[in-house]
Symmetry: C2
Subunit: 466 residues, 2 copies
């Protein structure tokens, strides 16, 4: 839908966690304020501890561990059927919508309100309207829930492409789609891919080419990529093309048909499995280490994409850049601990590079956070009750670390093909002007307010679009 | 063992997380510095989010949420067999030992070093030696791992009483004990109860009477309680006796044979159960709310014990008070979500009272933390894949909240009678002088250094006892 919600009003509702001092504009170090938001999808405290143990050992420190300020973020989700009632476990659509727009909405929604389906203006739209640079980097499809929430407005996250707008999934009706009210034929903005193609975001880098390499709604020959090109996007498809790109002008980089391949996998493609029972005795799985994933070969790293985006955006003016390492979450859904660890490493490497940028550009506020918590738990590699034949239910992996010990990692939210999310608060790390003003406990929608204030942007006071 | 480790040396090893500024003595607001450490056993981020949702609803805030400073604490554990190698999931003994003494040790050890079994001097011993008031409050047996680590030195946590010093558990050898080197007959300090009875801690309040109501080692008529009384402890056994106690002099309050009864339970004693399958279809368990636990009737609240301890200790001088809500952990082991929530409520109520004290005594530093993370996970009450007949493995509860929604809570670390701990970093909340100097990420042993500096205590520079 296109009716925009008055965000100023909502801000007064959602900013319980902010101190009075936070209301003041942040010092931006003298230059034009720059905002970099880094999201580790599903990067909760278990994922961070697991990755630290593997990547740097129990005596080591991640770059994440060195950020000077830290807060904890409560996620909030409303029931679509009755938005007065909460749900306690979010998805990446409603959480990214909270960060991008400052509203609380229902699972699966992209930049729209629960129940009433009004569009909520996003920080990226406000930044673009103010003439600031804007960028999105993700290892997911650029049409996936997290990046989409910063650009698009649609009632269902799965409406990523023209073909996906109205679909039926007879096996699991929850995965069917009906975004008919947003079809362009019905006066809507079209699919997420079409909304990205029509957007004024300067830099969009990630996966999801298949959602752009298909006819736009109502067209036979014109693809969504064609629409993007007509709207001024330079289209790149390989890391080499990305690296060769001159600064200036819009860019849409799509490096994979869907999600980008991940950097690491378990040795021999090992992942968590159900624990075996042989002759009534529990047989714990063999421990494994991590190895490079051959499918990653043609992918750009998150750091390379983030660096390219900074090269495009760093013109002395203000900008907003959202960077997502998406497959921490996706690999946890698939019970692949090495995949998770490698994608957290990608995020940590990127944080390091971004901090170097921020140190030489002191008007830069860097926030690093997760959108929601995930299934994987760090548990004993051998239960305290192992002598009683105790074993992990669900799926279990034993990962051998570089310091010669073994981590037990459990996935047990449900017994089907994929794990569910979990609902714990997630961490927020901060560096830069105003970082020390962020309260110790906030709500996810407060992140919108923090970014808005740092950039000196004014929320819309009416229902008009920016 | 009795040989004391030089903690000054160890401090230089474990304080990687501390900033340079942290080395300076904290401002204590002008008066004699007071230190209150509140430990929620097993109180990780899932437990806090679950409790918030139930106790104050998704729009509400716990007292915990209002503390001005927050850090994240990495737990560290060494293997007993080879202390050069880490383990990734701790227990309450080695974690409390890290906080109490600044060393890293192996699971199950109380104030002693991994492998070598040397005693490490505790902050409470240093405080007592400096003439400061000292106090311990817990809902567990006062001989249990967390309180014990602040007073005692022994190689196994289960050696709580004279009778428990050497025992054999044929079913699970991990639960056998051999503390023969610490028998008084062998020149040791005896069981944990005997070490508490012989200690100069001023206030000890909690459970565990059965460990004191038995003959001391080598005695037939003299109980451990008799030893405590001979050492100057006034003995109290009921909340009424506690409330009537005049300030001044030592007190040992034991309000239960073992762990204190918990405040809440599931309605009709409901807890998490394995999900049923009927005719091949999953049947999700009925949702339940929480109700008062009848067994709690004769127990003092944590807040009442903490208030009594403050009444005893508040004489204008410095003191160190450790307060533990122990059964957040124990109820999670037993898959009882309402038990966990009620015990977190007890902690939160106590934090509120302690903050009131600290506001009127600005020389008070309050730290609130957990010792380790636990099994319970907040997951969807209905899986996203429920249409595919997906259900939680392990044990699952659906808890109805006061705002009319349902939380799914999962326990799936192993399939035996009790859950294991988990290994994620835990939160630290801080209020008072120096709180804002605590780095965003620390290690658990750093808590010892923070308390030491706030109290202005000097670690021993030799191997001598304080």
């Amino acid at each position: 839908m296109t009716k925009l919600v008055a965000v100023a009003l909502l801000l007064t509702i959602v900013c319980h966690g902010c101190t009075a001092e936070q209301g003041a504009p942040a010092s931006s170090g003298g230059g034009a304020p720059k905002m970099i938001l880094i999201i580790g999808d599903g990067m909760d405290q278990h994922q961070i501890t697991i990755a630290r143990n593997y990547l740097v050992g129990y005596e080591g420190r991640l770059t994440l561990d060195t950020l000077p300020e830290r807060s904890s973020v409560q996620t909030q989700t409303l029931a679509e059927e009755d938005p007065r009632v909460p749900e306690y476990v979010p998805d990446s659509a409603n959480t990214a919508t909270s960060m991008a727009t400052g509203i609380i909405t229902s699972a699966g929604r992209i930049g729209t309100t629960a129940g009433t389906d009004h569009d909520a203006v996003s920080i990226m739209e406000l930044a673009a309207a103010a003439g600031f640079g804007t960028g999105i980097v993700t290892t997911s499809s650029v049409t996936d829930a997290t990046p989409a929430s910063f650009v698009a407005h649609i009632n269902q996250r799965l409406c990523e492409s023209p073909r996906a707008m109205v679909t039926r999934n007879p096996t699991n009706p929850a995965f069917s789609t009906d975004c008919s009210q947003d079809l362009r034929a019905n006066g809507g903005k079209g699919s997420i891919a079409e909304q990205i193609a029509a957007s004024n975001v300067d830099v969009v880098l990630g996966g999801g080419a298949r959602n752009f390499d298909q006819p736009a709604e109502g067209e036979t020959a014109t693809t969504v990529s064609d629409l993007a090109a007509a709207n001024g996007f330079r289209l790149v498809r390989t890391p080499a093309e990305l690296a060769a790109l001159a600064p200036g002008g819009k860019v849409l980089g799509l490096f994979s048909p869907g999600t980008l391949g991940v950097q690491w996998r378990g040795a021999g493609d090992a992942k968590a499995e159900e624990v075996a029972h042989v002759d009534g005795r529990v047989v714990y799985p063999e421990a494994f280490g991590c190895e490079p994933n051959p499918e990653f070969d043609t992918m750009p790293t998150v750091e390379a994409m983030a660096r390219a985006a900074l090269t495009q955006l760093d013109d002395g003016g203000s900008f907003l850049l959202m960077i997502e390492s998406a497959s921490i979450d996706k690999q946890s859904h698939l019970r692949r601990p090495c995949g998770q660890i490698g994608e957290l490493k990608q995020l940590d490497d990127t944080v390091k590079m971004v901090l170097e940028y921020a140190r030489s550009h002191p008007e830069t506020l860097v926030l690093v956070t997760a959108d929601h918590s995930q299934a994987a738990q760090l548990i004993p590699e051998t239960s305290v009750l192992a002598a009683l034949n105790a074993a992990s239910p669900g799926h279990f992996a034993r990962v051998r670390t570089l310091e010669g010990a073994v981590m037990g990692i459990n996935y047990a939210t449900n017994d089907s093909s994929q794990e569910d999310h979990s609902g714990a608060d997630v961490p927020l790390f901060a560096y830069g002007p105003g970082a020390e003003e962020i309260p110790a406990q906030i709500r996810q929608a407060d992140i919108f307010g923090i970014m808005l204030r740092h950039l000196g942007l004014t929320p819309p006071t009416s229902s008009s679009a920016p």
